[in-house]
């Protein structure tokens, strides 16, 4: 579904060039859930922005669904660290933003938006404004906005990192449930080993400066997963070792 070949990204900053990614190779299959983990500044967000077509690679080739990425695609959704809701729009109309921008049928979009909001437990909050919701609820709205695109690919950049630990666990369980019901191809950036282990089929560990693929770890434990299982703990320990290697 997604393929990166020898992808390099160099930013020409004011204080000299920043090598963000160097020679990254990555294949993500259809409906596969890949987590990307690594130190702050190792190029995780850059990687997602490249796949999303928000940035162009300095070198290398990126394809999604077999086509080279030249600009953002409608079947690729992007979810940010913060909810990024428009403060003047109600919950429902925030979810409908992609429908409006794409010029799709609003009536049908509205029905689907309600279904999605129900799916994440936000039924009854359709007419609220974002500031009336908790951080966790806002991020759920943002998830619905991603889902209404019916994306083939979901790119998620630390979507839960601004939330408290409990809400975080809750949301990653919810995402797991959504993924089991409506499987998508997902690339999920996170700082949290636990989150990666619970959610991902494969975990990519990046090494910093410039960002390279250090190791890829498969997680084969059956779903639904919850933390505290012995096999997941083993993977977590392995990852911790790998991460300490790339920081050293």
């Amino acid at each position: 579904m997604i393929s990166l070949r020898q992808v390099t990204k160099v930013f020409d900053g004011g204080a000299g060039a920043v090598h963000s990614l160097a020679g990254v190779d990555l294949e993500v299959g259809a409906h596969e859930f890949v987590a990307v983990i690594g130190r702050s500044g190792c190029g995780k967000s850059t990687l997602l922005r490249l796949i999303a077509g928000l940035l162009a690679p300095t070198e290398g080739r990126i394809t999604v669904a077999g086509e080279p990425v030249t600009k953002p695609r409608r079947d690729v959704s992007f979810m940010f660290q913060r909810p990024a809701l428009l403060p003047w729009r109600s919950v429902l109309s925030n979810v409908l933003l992609p429908v409006e921008i794409f010029g799709l049928d609003r009536r049908e979009g509205r029905d689907r938006a309600r279904l999605l909001l129900d799916l994440v437990g936000l039924g009854g909050f359709e007419e609220r404004l974002p500031h009336e919701l908790s951080g966790g609820m806002q991020q759920r709205v943002s998830l619905c906005r991603s889902l209404i695109q019916s994306p083939e690919v979901m790119l998620m950049d630390e979507p839960f990192s601004a939330l408290d630990a409990m809400t975080r666990t809750e949301l990653s369980e919810e995402l797991q449930r959504v993924q089991m019901e409506l499987p998508r191809t997902v690339v999920f950036v996170t700082h949290s080993i636990e989150e990666a282990v619970v959610l991902a089929d494969r975990i990519v560990v990046l090494s910093p400066r410039p960002g390279r693929v250090h190791r890829v770890v498969d997680v084969t434990a059956p779903r639904p997963r919850a933390l505290g299982r012995a096999d997941l703990d083993q993977v977590s320990r392995d990852l911790r070792v790998l991460l300490s290697e790339v920081t050293g």
Partner: protein, 250 residues
């Protein structure tokens, strides 16, 4: 409660003023007592209201015109680095010119009628409108811009669905400054050369040492300023119910 406290404050000040004029035995042509002021209003209610309406009309017209001129100007400046470099310093310089100095020139150019008043008001108001609109247009959070980019939105959509709406609370900050300045601008213009308006009343009463009348006119100006300001604040609250809470959040 929101109404009671300001009213109590106002009454206290008026009470003190009254007391002072009595205790110190101040002559009413120097500082008239509240009673003198009220009675000079009661003597000429029709005349004073008529003059108030003249000033109000000039103020509103000048204010609206400064929005019509200022907002597009701000959008141009924000939209183009070249235009910003070309016109921004000019705008700053224009704003630095003392408006009192320009007012007589405007009278020479545009006469004693309403035109010279409205244009001076525009000159006074346009700067805060431009600055606040421009800074509002630049305040769009990066992540929201990136969200629209990730949806492959057109520039037009990015403008109308995001940047412009996001700028509105900032625009209102400028408008609230502008509306107060507009009243001042109207009075300055009427001082310099006019045949009507509260500023004209004040300058005439000064010439005839009718201080009570001047105070009555000033009180009406104050009432007008307050009404315009809170009227605008009311419109803002109705139009942008999200703004206050949102600002509190970020």
């Amino acid at each position: 409660m929101t109404v009671v406290l300001p009213v109590v404050g106002l009454l206290a000040i008026i009470g003190l003023w009254w007391l002072a004029t009595i205790v110190f035995g101040i002559e009413s042509f120097l500082v008239p007592s509240p009673v003198d002021v009220v009675s000079s209003f009661v003597e000429l209610p029709g005349y004073l209201l008529e003059q108030s309406l003249v000033t109000l009309w000039e103020t509103v017209l000048g204010f609206l015109l400064s929005i019509v001129v200022g907002v597009p100007l701000a959008l141009m400046i924000v939209g183009s680095k070249v235009l910003e470099r070309m016109f921004y310093p000019l705008l700053v310089a224009l704003n630095a010119v003392p408006k009192v100095a320009i007012a007589p020139v405007f009278v020479v150019w545009f006469g004693f009628g309403i035109e010279s008043k409205v244009l001076l008001i525009v000159l006074v108001c346009v700067f805060p409108v431009v600055i606040s609109t421009a800074s509002g247009m630049k305040s769009t959070p990066h992540e929201l811009v990136e969200l629209l980019r990730s949806l492959d939105a057109t520039r037009r959509q990015e403008f109308f669905k995001l940047r412009f709406l996001y700028a509105l609370p900032q625009v209102f900050v400028g408008l609230k400054v502008a509306i107060s300045l507009a009243v001042i601008g109207a009075v300055i213009a009427e001082f310099i050369g006019a045949r009507a308006g509260l500023g004209y009343v004040i300058s005439q009463s000064g010439a005839s040492a009718d201080t009570s009348l001047a105070f009555a006119a000033m009180s009406l100006l104050a009432v007008m300023s307050i009404m315009l300001f809170y009227g605008l604040a009311y419109i803002e609250r109705r139009a942008l119910p999200w703004a206050e809470e949102h600002r509190g959040m970020t």
